[in-house]
């Protein structure tokens, strides 16, 4: 009986929750809705814990794999089962997703308490859980793609939760479409996989790859890897498809925490790590992965510098951190990437939820320029936020320090240039995070006039309206804070006296790059350089400290200074503030021309004038011919006789000619 873990229950439970709430939630009280949502999420979490604990002891141990007795797809030689797969990688993922997910559900009960469409929110949230768990538990690419697309849908729905706001609706749509662009590549990658391997099943593919050497040039594996990478850039908000994520902050804050920080956006990293067998045999593709990751990390960090919306800062920070993870994958340090993914899930969720608590406290205000001095007013929030900020900044021994440092170290071994990028990014991260911290919690309270148009329209009995969130919201924060503090302990590198448990845990699930490749050689090197690693850890701490000091100086000591500085370098500032005009560029160069061509060329000219014109023209021409032919019918008898006579003459002459020339 214990043979079958019934892994399918893990995603299915939240789906049931979603179905119950979606179908009947409108008639439920909020209390019932939240009970349903929480119950199923918790059950899923429990089930996941049980599975992760039991799986290694069943049969041959991990990876554990089971199919449902019926396939999802049967066509010709292609068979796609509902197959679930649990190895070390998915174990981590499933725990993070269900665990963090459950916490965020709890938080949301408080946060959304006064929102309309309460049942809808939880239905969507549970639906998201279902898809995300499908994604991480799938045993083949296609089922993974189900989750992949599904989380996109949930994201679309949740971003557009306040659908009456044009900006929210736009953001949701943008997220979905941009993700679809990535999915396009993912699909193509899958087609090539089918073509090459005849299967989409992970074990089948990786088994076939076992003895395949790394590709020297740009072979099929490289193309597949690049297509997968492009798919990942959509989901994990990498250049060039990161543009949707900042806009996605239109969604309610728990959504931002769950989907756009902790879980969904890491799907790309999970997918790359999952495909490590392919990527590791495609060194060129790996290089591209690393470069994209690095670029995204620093690029997003710079954009984060100038944002004033608290959630947007976090959003760019997420993009930047995701870049880190991708970069880690790019240097074949998949374990480091996943490690950071996990810690990031803790502290970024915490940051978002904390930010949500802040926003909640100030009545929906999201602009940091209108915050300040909240330290005393919402102390619990302040403290958890502080932990999170220090974690992300990489202050030891918090979780972020270990994971980030691991990435930087691996990068150094692989490509010092990328390390520089990562290093600068670390400094920038520290700076903008502390900027946020100072702007929000220190200085004067700069709230705007009261009771302005608030998305969270609930009144407040405090004089200034600022109030601490209820405990149902704070409790998850505390849990996450604890996780942020201690979560890094599973990955303390040997150089710092730890055992890097997570690294070893993940090792069986991840195919290390083959030794003959550059990444492979770097890996070898990394194993034997303990003392250098220690030095680099010091450098990381230093740059974080520098960021802190800069932020302290500009936003605490001399709060008027930033304005002066930005005035001096106005052009650059505007460039950064406006996110390098990337959105505008996409709009002008891609979206607008496409729409223009569609409307003014394809529809109005090609369709209406050319094709339909030809069709109607044929009709018109027939009519015109008919009109001309009618003129034969002049009504005059003599004319008629003339036609007959001429016809007769022609007939007779023709026949005589035929008769003579027999």
């Amino acid at each position: 009986m214990t043979e079958d873990l019934r892994l399918w229950l893990i995603p299915l439970l939240p789906l049931i929750g979603a179905a119950v709430n979606g179908l009947f939630g409108r008639r439920f009280k909020n209390r019932v809705v939240s009970a349903v949502a929480l119950l199923f999420t918790a059950a899923s979490f429990a089930k996941a814990v049980q599975a992760v604990l039991l799986a290694p002891h069943i049969g041959t141990g991990l990876p554990y794999q089971r199919m449902l007795p019926f396939n999802w797809l049967d066509a010709g030689t292609l068979h796609v089962p509902f197959g679930f797969y649990l190895d070390q990688l998915s174990s981590i993922m499933v725990l993070v997703v269900t665990g963090v997910g459950f916490l965020i559900h709890i938080y949301a009960v408080g946060y959304m308490a006064h929102e309309g469409g309460y049942y809808r929110f939880f239905a969507y949230l549970n639906l998201f859980m279902f898809f995300m768990l499908t994604l991480v538990l799938a045993n083949n690419y296609l089922l993974m793609f189900v989750g992949w697309e599904g989380v996109g849908l949930a994201s679309y729905l949740l971003i557009g939760f306040y659908f009456n706001k044009d900006s929210a609706a736009n953001a949701g749509k943008k997220a979905f479409i941009v993700n679809r662009i990535g999915d396009f590549a993912f699909l193509l990658g899958m087609f090539l996989v089918i073509q090459k391997f005849g299967s989409l099943n992970f074990t089948a593919i990786f088994g076939l790859l076992k003895d395949v050497p790394a590709e020297a040039g740009w072979g099929l594996l490289t193309i597949i890897a690049l297509l997968f990478l492009f798919g990942a850039t959509g989901k994990s908000a990498q250049i060039p498809l990161y543009v949707w994520l900042p806009d996605a902050m239109e969604g309610p804050t728990p959504v931002s925490a769950l989907i756009h920080a902790a879980t969904m956006v890491t799907a790309g990293i999970y997918m790359i790590a999952r495909s490590s067998a392919i990527f590791s045999r495609a060194p060129h593709a790996l290089e591209v992965v690393a470069i994209i990751g690095g670029l995204t990390a620093i690029f997003a960090a710079t954009m984060g510098l100038a944002q004033n919306d608290i959630k947007r800062v976090l959003a760019y920070s997420t993009v930047s951190q995701l870049g880190y993870m991708v970069m880690a994958c790019g240097v074949a340090a998949y374990a480091a990437g996943i490690f950071h993914l996990m810690t990031h899930a803790f502290f970024k969720a915490l940051l978002f939820l904390g930010a949500g608590s802040v926003i909640h406290a100030v009545g929906g205000e999201q602009d940091m320029r209108h915050m300040g001095g909240l330290r005393t007013k919402i102390p619990v929030t302040f403290w958890v936020m502080t932990i999170a900020t220090f974690t992300i900044a990489g202050v030891p021994p918090l979780a972020g320090f270990f994971s980030k440092d691991e990435i930087l170290w691996q990068t150094w071994n692989n490509s010092p240039a990328l390390w520089v990028v990562g290093f600068i990014t670390a400094g920038l991260t520290s700076f903008y995070m502390f900027r946020l911290w100072f702007m929000t919690f220190f200085g004067e309270l700069r709230l705007k006039s009261h009771g302005h148009d608030s998305a969270h329209g609930h009144g407040s009995d405090h004089s200034d309206g600022v109030h601490e969130s209820p405990w149902i919201m704070l409790a998850p924060l505390v849990v996450l804070a604890v996780l942020s503090i201690f979560g890094g302990l599973v990955g303390i590198p040997e150089a710092l006296g730890g055992h890097n448990e997570i690294h070893h845990y993940l090792e069986p699930a991840i195919t290390a790059p083959l030794a003959e490749t550059r990444a492979g050689m770097a890996m070898e090197a990394a194993e034997h350089a303990g003392s250098t690693e220690l030095a680099f850890a010091g450098l990381s701490v230093a740059v974080a400290a520098l960021g802190f000091l800069m932020a302290w100086f500009f936003y605490y000591k001399r709060p008027e200074l930033p304005q002066k500085v930005t005035a001096k370098i106005n052009g650059l500032y505007l460039l950064v503030l406006n996110k390098y005009y990337v959105d505008e560029g996409y709009d002008r160069l891609l979206v607008k021309p496409l729409l223009w061509v569609s409307r003014h060329v394809l529809w109005l000219v090609v369709d209406q004038k050319l094709i339909d014109g030809a069709v109607n023209g044929a009709g018109g021409a027939s009519q015109a011919v008919g009109g001309q032919l009618r003129r034969m019918q002049s009504g005059n008898l003599r004319s008629y006789a003339a036609w007959i006579a001429a016809g007769a003459a022609a007939v007779v002459a023709f026949m005589i000619w035929r008769g003579v020339h027999q």
Partner: protein, 517 residues
């Protein structure tokens, strides 16, 4: 005369008999509506016999019925295989819903409406079941009249233009098919599909030179291409859809267009495999142009129905592409996509009709923010949109994925086809979500929209089956594929070729299914 041998006849002609019954009933709209609903439900019930007793392992057409009809060579010959069975079921499934959807919206000349609807049903079923080319043509043409009348009598402002255009366009094209059918007959002295297929495959007929076959292929192709409609023969479709009454649109999109793709698979490919292969390149190019072009034009439509119509052009492009990849997966996917499109576009048209009943317009700018007054409607609409977008676990994805993967495997330009066609997943998301946003999201722009009533029970009742099907077909595709797969491999004579190039890899792994079980 047991049920087994007469079931196809019953399924085909029960609606027509019902139509006759309706004709003699008194002009009491209530009675007529109920009668039409019961008849169509009865037809659906009978049609369920097909999957129940269908043998997925049989190679041949099943439940065949043959009797001499006209002269020595024209037979009343019906038969069903995995392809036609589901299309028949799609038809019988959608007609009761079409009746429901027309319950209130048709209030003038009710009797005529339902009579036409039921006659149309018979003709459509006949098209799918005919195994005699003459009979096929008879049913093919017979669909024209009821549909044109439905559009012309119950449509909107430019209904006459649309009806005439629909009629003439299809008529002109089918004439070429008739010429081809007759020519085949004069050479083979039979109209029997299987016999002709065997004869052509055997290659003993001297008259069937490659040139002649090419002409025959084109004769059939043009008729089907217009019906599909394949770019650039598609311009009748938006007009027809925009003007048609809801039930007309539903059946037009869901079933009538499938007659074209069904014909392409059954006749163009089935009878002339060599010519089909020979011409596949440009047909695939047209299909891909259709996919992208239809989507881009849909993207800028200001009219809800027109947008859905152009989306049909795009979706049907997938079907044609799937058929002409000559891969098992591609053709399987194409057939599945036919069903999917029937379900999802049928649902979209029904939903469009519901809002038209309330607002009397399809102009997108007249909507906006409707999710607030009509949450149920918005939810149904969303599911339909997602099914059309091709979201996994809904029906649309399965077909699309198979078609595209089939395209990728097809030689020699497969990856190019696949790449271009796969952009379709981006476009469809773009135009459908844009449309959905225009209708449901954003602030309420028009005050009169605030009080719009949400869906009533009847409307929900007519949508639920479609939603359920969209989900079931998305999750449990093997239920359908079990019958489709052998039928397709039967119809694609050399389907093995295309897939065999990859079977080396597959055989290495063993089938993944086997590996895991």
């Amino acid at each position: 005369m047991d049920l087994h041998t007469s079931i196809l006849t019953i399924v085909t002609f029960l609606p027509a008999a019902g139509a006759v019954l309706l004709m003699v009933l008194p002009r009491n709209d209530r009675v007529i509506r109920w009668a039409a609903l019961l008849i169509s439900l009865l037809a659906f019930a009978f049609s369920l016999y097909l999957p129940a007793y269908f043998n997925s392992n049989a190679q041949d057409f099943q439940l065949q019925v043959t009797s001499q009809w006209i002269g020595q060579s024209i037979f009343y010959h019906l038969g069903v295989d995995g392809i036609s069975m589901w299309l028949v079921l799609l038809t019988t499934f959608l007609v009761p819903l079409s009746v429901l959807i027309s319950w209130k919206s048709i209030h003038d000349r009710v009797k005529e409406f339902f009579v036409l609807l039921l006659l149309l049903e018979t003709a459509m079923i006949g098209v799918f079941l005919s195994l005699d080319l003459f009979l096929f043509y008879v049913f093919w043409e017979a669909t024209l009249i009821p549909m044109a009348l439905l559009i012309g009598m119950y449509g909107h402002e430019r209904r006459i233009y649309a009806a005439v255009k629909f009629f003439l366009y299809t008529m002109v094209a089918s004439v070429f098919m008739l010429a081809a059918i007759i020519w085949i007959y004069t050479q083979t002295h039979t109209f029997d599909y299987q016999a002709i297929r065997a004869m052509i495959a055997a290659g003993h007929l001297t008259a069937f030179t490659p040139a002649a076959m090419q002409w025959l292929f084109l004769g059939f192709f043009i008729a089907f291409a217009v019906k599909v409609p394949l770019f650039p023969f598609h311009t009748w479709l938006p007009d027809a859809h925009v003007e048609a009454p809801t039930a007309g649109s539903v059946l037009l999109a869901a079933v009538l267009l499938k007659m074209g793709t069904y014909g392409l698979l059954r006749f163009s490919v089935g009878l002339f495999p060599d010519q089909a292969r020979h011409n596949a390149t440009w047909i695939n190019i047209l299909a891909i142009i259709g996919i992208i072009y239809g989507a881009l034009v849909a993207l800028v439509q200001p009219n809800l129905k027109k947008l859905i119509a152009y989306s049909s052009v795009s979706h049907l492009g997938f079907v044609v592409l799937g058929i002409f990849t000559f891969t098992q997966a591609g053709a399987d996917g194409a057939v599945y996509q036919m069903l999917n499109h029937g379900i999802s576009t049928g649902a979209l048209f029904m939903l469009a009709g519901m809002i038209y009943e309330r607002k009397h317009t399809y102009e997108l700018r007249r909507f906006g923010g409707l999710a607030t007054p009509m949450p149920v409607y918005a939810t149904f609409f969303l599911v339909a949109v997602l099914s059309s977008v091709g979201l996994p676990l809904l029906n649309g994805f399965v077909g699309e994925f198979l078609v595209l993967s089939g395209a990728a495997q097809s030689a020699p330009h497969g990856m190019i086809y696949a790449t271009l066609a796969t952009t379709g997943v981006i476009w469809s998301a773009a135009y459908l979500l844009w449309m959905y946003q225009k209708v449901f999201y954003g602030p309420m722009l028009h005050d009169d929209n605030k009080a719009l009533p949400d869906l009533n029970g009847r409307e929900q009742l007519s949508l639920w089956p479609l939603m359920a099907m969209a989900l079931i077909m998305g999750v449990a595709s093997p239920l359908w594929m079990k019958a489709i797969d052998p039928a397709v491999s039967q119809t694609l004579p050399a389907a093995g070729n295309a897939t065999s190039t990859h079977s080396s890899a597959a055989s290495l792994t063993g089938t993944p299914n086997g590996l895991q079980k």
